[in-house]
Subunit: 461 residues, 2 copies
């Protein structure tokens, strides 16, 4: 019934299918709002996640709802657009069909592929359980659970046995995510948790970043790399560059023959493109990114646009980075390009979409703990900022770009309260109480070593 | 080391072990703050949950962190108290020991047992997966996931097949929890979700309450029961009293031979006491509540206090109800009683703790949707209120009692925004996308019926 109606409808107007509700897909959808097209946005999740702030959910400063919003709500007033919670599992490029997991297929005249990237454990998929990465709200709450639980289990073990494993938090990867996680864990331990425990000293927590390359924040200019290193060391974070992890085990990681103990191990190293890129059957690079031309089309497919992390876009001999800004710009570009192709009037951001896509780089920022950051500012002026000024810039840019006014409002206040020390943050442990590396007597991992009840133990306290 | 130190310490001062960080345990701990005792509070969770607002987390108005707070943070400034995240699994009343799951044992001079209650499926434990109840933050997010996912799956199926199962939300149990869930689901469907969907009409969602007894809100006076029924029916909620559920299946429930379809089934019926009551080895009633005397002691154990849902306290021939107020008062009483027993000075709330415990009943309230409620006020004056005045009373009482000022602040604003229609609420679906009752082709439950990709389907739209 609705199917039929929609079908008739579909005959009259071009159909655009957008896969992915991240920065790329959402901006494409918005760009298509006033064009004579029918838009269907498909995402596995019901919500858009503001990934730049995800680490603050992971480290208990913000709640998931502060930085994630239902895609339906964001687009609810956009009448030519519908949202479908489903998953694409294949394509029929001949007949211009997207095959969905639930067995239905979506016809398209234009396809915008913006399904982003996921973690790459370099083929060691067994590591993913032991060292979660940070891409989704679920990842964030899992990381939060593990970090907070480590302190609880240490307190418990200290109380019972008078000792506990060293509170080493090992972060694999020294990019922006690794740096932001490291700063935030160190803050939590030193600032927020210090007064809550009686037997352990959370301030003794040691955060270690293991980076395979010679430098952290490899994409940043040298002076900011140096400054970031100083700021991290000021927070007591230990940096080990040129350090390639060879194994990840419950309770420790191996670097060659060196064992590094870890109550919690986090993954901020490799990423790989969403598998949908390969399913297109066009050329992809080794990360699975789709090689596209200046119009973001795979060669020979002017009706297909690939945006964000999933696209391999070369500019001035370098690949455009897989972060939020380029993804947003690509989404907007794809929408404008479609407007031009169907000969409809369309808004313009001045970049002129008869030309190919060009990434307009305003710069990059990474926070280092509570009040420090590095900012490589390229627009409206060029500057390299560090410390508090960089952090303030970061704060306002992120507040400004956060989807949804009410979220901005709440995030701002959460931060205000947290930084004023009045708010405890969101330190809830939900879900399992198991943590890899804390052995049980039966050899399984999870809780602390249990002692037989029959045994004559000295009672605690 | 710490163990030793604590042990010496323990020789000098009486030790109080509190099991459970709910209203009873938390108030007991606070009452002991200024007594010369060492207090250990043990809870499986790291957080206290403000259960009266849990249904608002379940129905996406509030975030978990708005109504739950780490027990450590709440008690962090209370120097004679330590918090342990662990679980009691047994007692040695002779030697005054609590056995913990992790194998340690806690010595006590006084034991306060306040581990509350859990759902009772009347022996049909298989129902728990199909009809979750509402006791913990995890329960709340699971209910939220199911309710929101039902709309998503219906939209998806409508888009693909032109029809979807009736959006029946069945709530088993017509007590305060059932009534509050019913009102909130009806609100979400009619107010917040209406504009977000293109193919289904969320307003057609039908909420059904199945109550075994002749009346909903059985504990309330007749006039308020009648008023509650009217207010629920005004919201379009269907009430079926004298209706005993005989089976719960994925996608439907059975009442005798009658099948009632249900995309989501929720459990708000029976509760049973925490198993720890029985482990004490003293007399318990059929629900597992510990029979206590006027001092909240099980007969013959003046050193053991049982508080909250777990205690069977008779007063004026009726059992004191298992809600927040009596639990708080019992916790406070137990602390004062201990103060008196050890001959220490102590605060008094005027109830006079040389006398036995007496529940001072200020009344009960239950909300019915967004702006209605029933309030059976007994203090400071007697009144039966309905509708908006009752709801306002409910609002301010709950804001006032919510633990933690920053939470109050955020909850208040969340409500303001939500009720002003400016906030979308917390409509995030996290975790699995499976929902019992939506059959897959392979017969498993979870996603929609999938169609073979080979089959020639009419494409969607």
């Amino acid at each position: 019934m609705a199917g039929a109606a929609a079908a008739t409808n579909g005959r009259l107007r071009k159909r655009v299918v957008i896969l992915g509700g991240g920065f790329g897909g959402l901006n494409a959808a918005r760009g298509l709002a006033h064009l004579p097209v029918d838009v269907t946005l498909v995402d596995r999740k019901n919500h858009h996640t503001f990934q730049p702030l995800l680490y603050q959910v992971a480290l208990a400063v913000l709640s998931p709802a502060d930085i994630a919003q239902p895609i339906r709500s964001i687009l609810s007033r956009q009448k030519n657009t519908e949202v479908l919670m489903d998953e694409a599992i294949g394509f029929d490029l001949e007949r211009k069909l997207v095959l969905l997991k639930t067995g239905a297929r979506l016809e398209y005249d234009y396809l915008i592929l913006a399904t982003g990237s996921t973690h790459s454990y370099f083929g060691k998929d067994g590591w993913s359980k032991l060292a979660p990465g940070l891409k989704t709200v679920e990842d964030a709450t899992e990381i939060r659970r593990r970090v907070l639980l480590a302190f609880e289990l240490a307190e418990r073990q200290m109380l019972e046995t008078g000792s506990h494993p060293a509170l080493n938090f090992v972060i694999i990867g020294g990019g922006p995510t690794g740096v932001e996680l490291a700063g935030a864990i160190s803050d939590i331990a030193k600032l927020y948790m210090a007064r809550d425990f009686r037997h352990i000293n959370p301030g003794q927590a040691q955060v270690v970043i293991l980076e395979g390359s010679p430098h952290i924040l490899g994409a940043y200019p040298d002076d900011l790399q140096v400054s970031a290193r100083k700021q991290l060391e000021a927070l007591g974070v230990q940096l080990r560059t040129n350090t390639k992890v060879t194994d990840v085990q419950p309770g420790y990681v191996m670097v060659g023959d060196t064992r590094i103990d870890a109550v919690v191990t986090l993954w901020a190293a490799g990423v790989q493109a969403s598998p949908l890129g390969k399913l297109l059957g066009v050329e992809t690079d080794k990360k699975g990114c789709v090689v596209v031309d200046q119009y973001l089309n795979p060669p020979g497919h002017p009706e297909i646009f690939v945006c964000g992390d999933l696209a391999q876009v070369m500019q001035d001999g370098k690949q455009v980075p897989g972060v939020a800004q380029p993804a947003m710009q690509m989404g907007t570009y794809a929408a404008e390009r479609i407007g031009r192709l169907i000969g409809a009037s369309h808004g313009s951001d001045g970049t002129g979409n008869s030309k190919g896509f060009r990434y307009f780089d305003k710069g990059d920022m990474a926070t280092i703990g509570r009040t420090a950051a590095v900012a490589n500012i390229k627009w409206p002026f060029k500057a390299h900022w560090s410390g508090f000024p960089a952090w303030l810039t970061w704060l306002f840019v992120h507040i400004f770009f956060l989807v949804g006014f009410q979220n901005r409002f709440f995030v701002f206040w959460s931060w205000a309260w947290t930084y004023l020390g009045e708010k405890d943050g969101v330190r809830l442990i939900t879900g399992s109480q198991e943590l890899p590396g804390w052995e049980t007597s039966d050899g399984a991992y999870g809780t602390l070593t249990t002692k037989p009840l029959e045994a004559e133990l000295p009672a605690v306290r």
